[in-house]
């Protein structure tokens, strides 16, 4: 009884959601988004690692390629009614494309509406990791970046030369 009484004078931890919003740290694992490169190209290269890492198998995608060899997902689907927000996909992603953001307000009356397609996932931002561009590091040539133009690369070898 005494304890209960004391609690009445404590600082309140309950907040008046939704009038008042909770403050979430930036690494909070909420809604999943697909981010973009600094040059606003799609970051996701369709490598399927997030899908493989997902313990509830709620990510499905199909990789494809544009005419210049740049890979991207043809479709990208997350079934949020299955997602457990474990963040494994983000951890697996080699390109920082998939990120969990501090947003949890996703409730729906109809479960079907929890199926997010690429258009629902892709945002116009780099998210938590600004400045990273996978293709600047990878050896694959894409439109606007030829062989030898990535970070730490020599110009392509002239295979007809025998100079030591």
């Amino acid at each position: 009884m005494w304890l209960t009484f004391l609690h009445m004078f404590r600082k309140r931890v309950t907040i008046q959601y939704p009038e008042e919003k909770a403050k979430l740290p930036p690494r909070w694992r909420g809604r999943i988004v697909l981010t973009r490169d600094p040059d606003m190209g799609e970051r996701c290269v369709g490598c399927y690692l997030c899908a493989a890492a997902c313990p509830v198998d709620c990510i499905a995608l199909q990789a494809t390629e544009d005419e210049n060899g740049r890979r991207y997902p043809e479709f990208f689907r997350i079934n949020f009614s299955r997602c457990i927000f474990c963040g494994f996909c983000e951890e697996a992603c080699p390109t920082y494309a998939i990120q969990l953001i501090p947003d949890f307000e996703m409730a729906e009356y109809n479960r079907q509406n929890l199926v997010y397609e690429k258009k629902d996932l892709l945002i116009d931002s780099q998210g938590k990791y600004p400045g990273y561009n996978y293709y600047n590091i990878a050896g694959l040539a894409i439109g606007g970046k030829d062989k030898g133009q990535a970070e730490n690369e020599e110009a392509p070898v002239d295979i007809r030369s025998l100079v030591p």
Binding site: A51, C54, C58, I59, A60, P94, A141, E154, P156, I159
Partner: protein, 912 residues
């Protein structure tokens, strides 16, 4: 056997192997790159280091490349020695200094030997801070993608392509760490076996370009054991599906049939399964109908109809058998030309009643003398040609055996053999790719080839009738061949139905039988035209012509054509007349073709990927293939359709058949030649620890999401009533019986190299033996009388040409021709002439030759070749734009006064 001590433990092992093979067989995880079980060792990559100790007292030991060291009795070695491990890690680190940061966009990822080996050695952090060397890629054609940055210089690609497969246009360029593996310039890889580069290369330099079109990681595929449908060899394949389409075909190791390799027709022909021309709906008349409407329409009609059924050499045994049961044995016809029918029956007679065994492809590799009579096996049975190349390559190795160079020591054996080739004799109508490695080549008319065969047989056994008045050169050739064959320990004769000549096949049988009297190890291989030609022939049935007559004479009014385009097997006007005389033409097939367009009722059948079935290859081996995925729409296997129809029209025989197993069991019981076919795979009730065998890997992704766009509640996965495989990732993931292996995977071994773990001994057979049952064995007692009737010498006729078929690996086979990548490699229609004939007829390259065969006229653009015998013309087999003709046959040439040029393709159309 010898004793060897590895890391303090004693093992009993066979001798003659190297340390690497021995360690892998014993289950050690020892990394390697340049060694390949089929290519042997060259010791180039330095990845497979182990510690070898001199004797029990040696504590320091020395580092040795295990792939270059033969096992010695009582040897003591260490795999886990810290120095050896550090060395292996160091080697990977060096290899990785130039390796691009590509795994995420690399098609090899997830089945990459380099990834596996990197993880295995423990190298995980990049210390090298300098720049990476880069390379430009090349365009290598529709099959193979090139990404040269990823190369680790193991030299496997060129060793396979040039040394093993005899290709000329892939090589290594530049020097030191700049070495470049590619072609001299951009262009299509010429070898028929280029697709194997994707599996041979341990990295993502060479990858499957058709997979890239609909890229899926290995772990995401639903895979099943399958059989290649594109020629009579019956290579074992893995068919992988994702999102309802077939994504790739990979090799499924078979110790007797295809070993580690597939040909490009088999690897890339699969895309017909996804073709836009697939039949997905049933239709009656012009209208698309539902399942109920279809039965409503069909059943009453079928109950009254006088039905006949036309089977197919490209359909499974079960489908053909179900059709035979539905229409009755007397009304079942083989849907092949009469000549093909005769040749298949002849083949069975030779193989069953003769005394010579037909060897497997693997045994052909070990032959030390090969005679090919009349066949162009590179185009009709490519993997057999690859085996013959190995025979030619390995035979000089007998000398290497004499100086104790072991079989796996590739570099040393090649050095010793130099350009030395084993005795291979090629006889054919036109040049074949094997000519370049043959000791003697003979291009002649089929009858002359048969005459040579008789002459050889006569030299081996004088009771065989001789071919008289042979030209001297040919008689000498016969002497040489007879000598070489008699001197060999394991001679093999190859012939077959693709040269369309019974005489040639008989001559081949005579040679084999005559030789067998001297040497019981003689083998005789006969190739067939299609994947199940032999199986169909073993089932018994009437000729196609008899079917035509049955309808023309009013004995039948309804025909069920199953998985067969009759226009590929019969003359167009006859087929036209036949089909229009039928009251009802019911066609079951999966692709649109001319016969389908004439059908009243079209029923969508499943392709091999959507079906279970059994095929009999040219060796008489019955091999089972399994459904890779449940068909969509109302597509089902042909046999299942026929089963349903049979039950609906109250066919007594079929009343109790419910599933695949019932059909197979009835076939095993009722078809005498197919007795034993049940044993081709374990029954559908087979379980391991109560579990089905999973078609999906344990890492399969996306199952709660892939259908979620349609319905967020996942549907129940399909159950397979026909096999012990499951459609999910649940089930047994270890090593199942060899015929049920859906994919190769072992902990730490994600790439195809994991097949090592499935073999009883590295490079040997799969554990519990290679799949399939041989249904044809030779007679052991009594001998078959030799064939008599030596054909007359071929004499050219004025204004006539003897037209024979020429086969093309790309285009001659019906199904693979529908794959877009293969379609890019199909030659244009042509007629091939000797320049002398062309001059006499006043046509030249590119001009049009008009001729009639059996009073039907043809017009085809001319190509010339010196290698073709005079008086003979070659017509490509089965190629779009080349109408069917009953070959071989005389053509009467119409001399044209003016030469015409071709601008359109209408020349090929028949002028009826």
């Amino acid at each position: 056997m010898a004793t060897i001590i590895i890391d303090g433990k004693t093992y009993e092992i066979p001798t003659g192997k190297n340390l690497l093979e021995t360690c892998l067989t014993l289950g050690f995880d020892l990394p390697y790159f340049c060694w390949h079980p089929a290519l042997g060792s060259v010791g180039a990559c330095r990845q497979c280091a182990v510690k070898v100790y001199k004797d029990e007292n040696d504590t320091r030991g020395r580092l040795a490349m295990s792939c270059m060291e033969a096992v010695a009795p009582n040897q003591r070695i260490s795999v886990s020695d810290p120095e050896a491990r550090a060395f292996r890690e160091q080697v990977i680190e060096w290899l990785m200094t130039n390796h691009p940061h590509d795994c995420a966009v690399c098609d090899e990822g997830g089945s990459c030997h380099l990834q596996d080996m990197t993880v295995m050695t423990g190298h995980d952090y990049r210390r090298f801070r300098f720049k990476k060397r880069t390379h430009q890629n090349q365009y290598l054609g529709p099959f193979i993608n090139h990404e040269m940055n990823r190369c680790i210089q193991c030299y496997r690609c060129v060793r396979f392509y040039k040394d093993y497969a005899g290709g000329h246009d892939l090589d290594v360029y530049a020097s030191k760490s700049n070495v470049y593996f590619g072609r001299e310039e951009d262009g299509i890889l010429e070898s028929e076996f280029s697709g194997n580069l994707a599996e041979v290369c341990p990295t993502g330099v060479f990858t499957d370009k058709t997979l890239k079109e609909h890229y899926t990681r290995k772990w995401d595929l639903t895979m099943s054991p399958s059989i290649c449908q594109h020629c009579s060899i019956g290579c074992n394949t893995i068919a992988g599906e994702r999102y309802g389409t077939l994504r790739m075909i990979a090799n499924r190791f078979h110790g007797k049939v295809n070993g580690y390799f597939l040909c490009d027709r088999g690897r890339f022909g699969y895309e017909f399964v996804n073709a836009a021309t697939r039949i997905r709906q049933a239709s009656a008349g012009e209208a698309v109908v539902s399942l109920d409407q279809l039965f409503h329409h069909l059943i009453p009609a079928l109950k009254q109809a006088k039905m006949i059924g036309i089977g197919s050499p490209r359909a499974s045994l079960q489908s053909n058998f179900a059709l035979k049961a539905l229409v009755g044995g007397d009304n079942f016809y083989h849907g092949v030309s009469d000549n093909e029918h005769d040749l298949a029956e002849l083949a069975i007679r030779i193989l069953r009643e003769g005394s010579v065994r037909t060897p497997s492809t693997r045994e052909v590799e070990q032959a030390d003398a090969v005679l090919i009579l009349g066949e162009d096996i590179t185009n009709t049975a490519p993997i057999l040609a690859l085996a013959v190349r190995q025979a030619v390559r390995q035979q000089p190795g007998n000398a290497a055996d004499a100086v104790n160079i072991p079989v796996w020591h590739d570099a040393a054996r090649r050095e010793l053999a130099q350009q030395d080739k084993g005795p291979l004799f090629v006889t054919s109508v036109h040049t074949t790719k094997l000519d370049e490695v043959a000791r003697d080549v003979y291009h002649a008319a089929p009858d002359d080839i048969a005459r040579l065969g008789f002459a050889i047989a006569h030299r081996l056994d004088p009771t065989v009738p001789d071919a008289t008045d042979l030209p001297e050169a040919v008689a000498l050739l016969a002497d040489r061949i007879a000598q070489a064959l008699s001197a060999a320990a394991r001679p093999v004769i190859i012939s077959g139905a693709c040269c369309e000549s019974g005489c040639v096949m008989k001559a081949a049988a005579n040679v084999a039988w005559a030789l067998q009297k001297k040497n019981p190890a003689t083998g005789l291989v006969l190739t067939m035209l299609e994947c199940n030609s032999l199986g169909l022939a073993m089932m018994g049935g009437h000729r196609l012509h008899a079917a035509f007559n049955a309808v023309m004479n009013g004995h039948a009014d309804t025909v069920i054509v199953m998985e067969n385009d009759l226009y590929r097997h019969g003359k167009a006007d006859e087929v036209d007349a036949f089909l229009s005389k039928c009251r009802r033409v019911i066609v079951l097939d999966h692709l649109l073709h001319k016969t389908v367009s004439k059908a009243n009722v079209i029923i969508p059948a499943g392709t091999f990927a959507e079906s279970d079935g059994t095929l009999v290859n040219n060796e008489g081996r019955a091999q089972r293939f399994f459904q890779a995925y449940e068909p969509t729409d109302i597509i089902r296997e042909s046999w299942r359709w026929l089963l349903t129809l049979g039950q609906q029209i109250e066919n007594n025989r079929m009343a109790t058949w419910r599933n695949f197993e019932d059909v197979t069991l009835a076939m095993d019981r009722d078809e005498p030649l197919l007795h034993g076919v049940m044993a081709a795979s374990p029954p559908s009730q087979f379980r391991i620890a109560g579990q089905r065998i999973a078609r999906e890997t344990h890492r399969y992704s996306g199952r709660t999401s892939q259908q979620a766009n349609i319905n967020v509640s996942e549907s129940k996965p399909p159950e397979d009533p026909d096999s012990p495989l499951s459609y999910t990732m649940e089930g047994f993931h270890g090593q199942p019986p060899s015929s049920l292996i859906p994919y190769f995977w072992a902990p730490g071994w994600n790439s195809v190299q994991s097949v090592n773990k499935y073999q009883s001994e590295v490079g040997g057979s799969l554990r519990d033996n290679d799949p399939g049952v041989r249904l044809l064995e030779p007679k052991t007692e009594g001998t078959h009388a030799y064939f008599v009737g030596v054909p007359e010498r071929f004499r050219p006729l004025e204004d006539h040409l003897w037209v024979v078929s020429l086969h093309h690996i790309f285009g001659s086979e019906e199904l693979s021709a529908h794959a877009p990548s293969i379609a890019q490699r199909i030659p244009q229609a042509y007629i091939l002439l000797h320049p002398a004939d062309a001059a006499a007829l006043a046509v030249e390259t590119g001009g049009v030759l008009a001729f009639t065969i059996d009073s039907r006229s043809y017009r085809l653009p001319v190509k010339l070749s010196e290698a073709l015998p005079v008086g003979i013309a070659g017509m490509p087999y089965g190629i779009e734009g080349v109408p069917y003709a009953d070959l071989p046959e005389w053509a009467i040439v119409q001399r044209t006064s003016q030469r015409q040029n071709l601008n359109d393709h209408s020349y090929a159309k028949r002028h009826a």
